[in-house]
Symmetry: C2
Subunit: 351 residues, 2 copies
Amino acid sequence: MEVTNRYVAIKHHINGSPKESDFELKSVSLSLSIEAGSNDVIVKNIYVSIDPYQINRMKDHSPSQTEKVAVSALGILPGKAIDAYGVGRIVESGNPEFEKGDLVVGFIGWEEYSLVRGGATDCALRKIDTSELPLSNHVGILGLGGLTAYGGFFDVCKPKKGETLFVSAASGSVGSIVGQLAKLFGCYVVGCAGTKEKVDVLKDKLGFDAAFNYKEEPDLKSALKRYFPDGIDMYFDNVGGEMLAAAVDNMNFFGRIAVCGVISEYTDAEKRRGPSMINVVYKRLTIQGFLSVEYMHQFADYISIASDYLRNGKIHALEDISHGIESIPSAFVGLFNGDNIGKKMVQIADM
Amino acid sequence: MEVTNRYVAIKHHINGSPKESDFELKSVSLSLSIEAGSNDVIVKNIYVSIDPYQINRMKDHSPSQTEKVAVSALGILPGKAIDAYGVGRIVESGNPEFEKGDLVVGFIGWEEYSLVRGGATDCALRKIDTSELPLSNHVGILGLGGLTAYGGFFDVCKPKKGETLFVSAASGSVGSIVGQLAKLFGCYVVGCAGTKEKVDVLKDKLGFDAAFNYKEEPDLKSALKRYFPDGIDMYFDNVGGEMLAAAVDNMNFFGRIAVCGVISEYTDAEKRRGPSMINVVYKRLTIQGFLSVEYMHQFADYISIASDYLRNGKIHALEDISHGIESIPSAFVGLFNGDNIGKKMVQIADM
């Protein structure tokens, strides 16, 4: 059987802030059949993840394109399909590990159907049981964003009970999970976000000790001093730039900074202002970059722990879902305008 | 007995680049006698250390002044004596651990005589045996600069044999030791410095694999790419700023950056440009600040190891000695102009 497979592509490389007009919806015809002897599967995609890091893959030249660090860091070519994390249902399988009808999670794409080569190798696809938790949870809190939060908080921040944690982009896909994990662990947690609505969610729904709207703070250093009179032990950085500089100025001795994302640099690399390295020295700070790929071996453990938390109501999945494949460009552009509250994803088909 | 004790002081706080006219030579009369029942000692100072970090103590406001991190980080007051590492001879002792005539090393000051309270508490003073090695070695390669190099290289850089190391300010007091320790350990070592003479010393005397004059390189990123075609595993950073940014762009995955000093920020905090945090994330770099105070428990071990190396000619002490207490201001100002080759110190008395 042949189907029309619609997909979202970039028209050209994108080096600044993305616009909806940088994208186009294309279509190809796809045969829903598997080559004999292959391990391929075809997935009908249901939810696809919309992540800020994709912008780095869309540039005409970036470290993530010239150096192959992870599936999620390969360069994206104009006109071509864009791989992305998500969940879908197997519609054809040449792989003994998957049957038609199985729900799977892994790297599919911003497209209606994905042909996944080789099937179950590595983390490409994994069967999921959705009997208890919503399917969308597997894209967000039980997906790579959750693993990023888990690895970044426990392995990079190396928390001790009673320590203080600051999280930027705290209502985002990763920040919202980091803050909740840290509260459960016994830390004092303050987050920042860009609207009153987001700040309210952090305090009222996610249980942060405090939260503030950074757009209302003319002096970030003073703001952090107010929220952390005794200093910051750990900073989970999703934004870089001025916020990183302000956090460094408020860190305690031997503080740890987990650099997870640098959204301030993604669309404007030239404007970057560095943190005070004098403070890095005198306070003996550690600033460490990391990717979720380092923690793949802990993914099953994390999913098990986080699923329990979800079932017991100890953590909440913050999700922001748009509908229809044609909404992917606006959903993606919206990430850079702060439109989303929680994990952004697009539902492109019914379950 | 009363003596005139001459000392160097700042006339006022210094917030930019230091000038000789910011300093003055003052004198007080000092009684060479110890209060009965005290543990104090009086030291006649022979060599005193001249270190760039002192500029941070001379500012009217700095993290090192408001937060007490180490003896070497307390604020310096105009008109007052300035404590500094150095060696001298006990001239009076109320402390049973020291006798008149003993040679000691520790925190004395930019002055002819130092009254050291409490004597041998902590690392304030320690007796030294100078039967084999020059006394000046105890200020430099066997002093805190050596310990900084040792702790920073082994503990912060966490080297593996065969890895590549880049050192900035490589002919300086710390850089020159880091590079030699790294060569002995089995690393590929490249250093940079600011004159041809320094570069020649690195290559010809200290055994660096390569060295370059950064002032002759219009594009530091390309220069590092040329010297490290396979990338940098470890960067021992003494300068910060543009060099740190260029190093980050050339680091290998999981690279480590030991931030020891930030001379580019010491006299001009406003101009700082940050490294690419995108590269920090994608390459999973660790940037760690540290102070020698963390490694005091390893000081005796380090001195023993380094003394053996010196006796066997495996490492060389690079020293740059001025003479006379009145030369301290010009020696200090010269640090920021790159005048010194190796450990800068001033000899203010004969042995």
